[in-house]
């Protein structure tokens, strides 16, 4: 599947109500590490598990008065519209969000 098709596939799943672990956000480095470990152990290459564990949404989530869109995340590649976190490596949209957001 090419990147555009995969992006559309993810968008469709999220719009259809795929329930993901949006909360709690990864507040501390320990929580980040725990989620990343789950991605490595439980998700592997399984797209749905990646989306669920990382708490994907097709809209921006705000946590502690801070919007957390992919657009400002350190793992986001602006021109490719791509999440570069090694455990995700997924095409995304700038207004999407996940709980591994970091700036």
């Amino acid at each position: 599947m090419d990147m555009e098709a995969l992006r559309q596939d993810i968008a469709t799943r999220l719009a259809a109500g795929l329930e993901t672990e949006v909360w709690p956000r990864a507040g501390t480095s320990e929580e980040v590490n725990a989620i990343v470990r789950r991605l490595q152990v439980e998700a592997g290459d399984d797209l749905v598990k990646k989306l669920v564990i990382s708490g994907f949404t097709d809209h921006t989530i705000e946590a502690e008065d801070m919007p957390q869109p992919c657009e400002t995340c350190m793992y986001y590649k602006v021109h490719a519209r791509f999440c570069d976190l090694p455990e995700l490596m997924l095409p995304v949209e700038p207004e999407w969000s996940c709980r591994l957001w970091r700036i």
Partner: protein, 320 residues
């Protein structure tokens, strides 16, 4: 001719190894070209046992003028403040350190252990290690906050794990050739000539820092190591990217995050699992900001810079 004596306390000899790799000037050049007479050094000294002790005693008595006393490694106080865990020439090393420091014109602490306590002094510090005049950020250390050598200077701290050979040789040459007056020290007694700029100064990844493109795994030549891999380059004072290692590289240039080894807190977070090579964050924002940058400014700058990032910044432009 300036007499130099070099001793080691709680050390791995890393700073001696670094010093012996010096070039322009080399350790030999210090002797032949700059008039430094090395009275004794753990890896160079020919004397053993009582003959070493005799040298030390003559330095303390003044029979041998001690111009420069160099100390590498922590001053060990265990057990119970006695220093008996680190005996040298028949007595605790801490006692030699005190008396030799009082006798010397200049005292130079080399490496993070001698300056601030380094790895041996991290919790729970079983050896009760301290630096010469600091324990981490706290003034005091083994010699006390008010210590000054005969020259009127406090201990000159050359931190690093290890210290770069040029930092060592250039300071020794300055002192030995009567140019100590040119030295200005910062609040942690580091020579400002080396420790005013940052490790990031001169880093080849600075353009990726500017456009907020992160390295996400070891081995990548693109991206900045600060955002994800725990690099402390933007808040560590050192010239590692100005005075290159082995004359051609540095940790960050080679893809290795700066560990902040010239700062008093090194090793950061006491090396707790998950803290090494991983940027510590609170709700997605780095816990330690680049020096002088606040959280609000950082977030604004990052959002703006990321939006402006050119496409090339996201690619590996170093691929041939």
């Amino acid at each position: 001719m300036a007499n130099l004596l070099w001793l080691q306390g709680g050390a791995c000899s890393g700073n001696t190894m670094s010093f012996l790799n010096a070039e322009e000037p080399s350790a030999c050049d210090l002797v032949t070209d700059f008039g430094i007479n090395i009275l004794w050094q753990p890896s160079l000294g020919l004397e053993l046992g009582d003959n070493v002790k005799t040298i030390l005693q003559k330095c303390i008595s003044g029979e041998i003028k001690l111009d420069i006393f160099v100390f590498e490694g922590t001053v060990i106080n265990a057990p119970n403040g006695t220093g008996e865990w680190n005996r040298f020439c028949g007595r605790p090393m801490k006692e030699w350190v005190k008396e030799l420091s009082d006798a010397a014109d200049f005292v130079v602490a080399i490496g993070d252990c001698a300056t601030y306590g380094g790895i041996p002094a991290m919790a729970p510090n079983p050896t009760e290690s301290v630096g010469m005049q600091f324990l981490k950020r706290a003034k005091g250390g083994s010699l006390g906050a008010g210590f000054k050598s005969k020259s009127g200077l406090p201990v000159i701290n050359i931190p690093g794990c290890p210290a770069h050979p040029d930092w060592v040789t250039q300071i020794l040459v300055a002192v030995a050739t009567g140019r100590a007056g040119d030295l200005t020290l910062d609040e942690f007694h580091r020579p400002k000539t080396f420790f005013s700029s940052f490790t990031q100064t001169g880093c080849t990844r600075n353009m990726h820092f500017a456009y907020k493109v992160s390295t996400t795994a070891f081995g990548q030549r693109k991206g900045c190591l600060f955002y994800d891999l725990g690099c402390r380059g933007p808040m560590t004072h050192s010239p590692c990217n100005r005075i290159l290692w082995n004359r051609h590289s540095s940790k960050t240039r080679a893809g290795m995050p700066c560990l902040g080894c010239t700062e008093p807190e090194f090793p950061f977070f006491d090396l707790n699992p998950g803290t090494v090579f991983k940027t510590q964050t609170v709700m997605g924002v780095p816990k330690d900001m680049p020096t002088g940058v606040d959280k609000v400014g950082y977030i604004k700058l990052t959002a703006a810079a990321k939006g402006m990032a050119p496409a090339w910044a996201e690619e590996d432009i170093f691929v041939v």
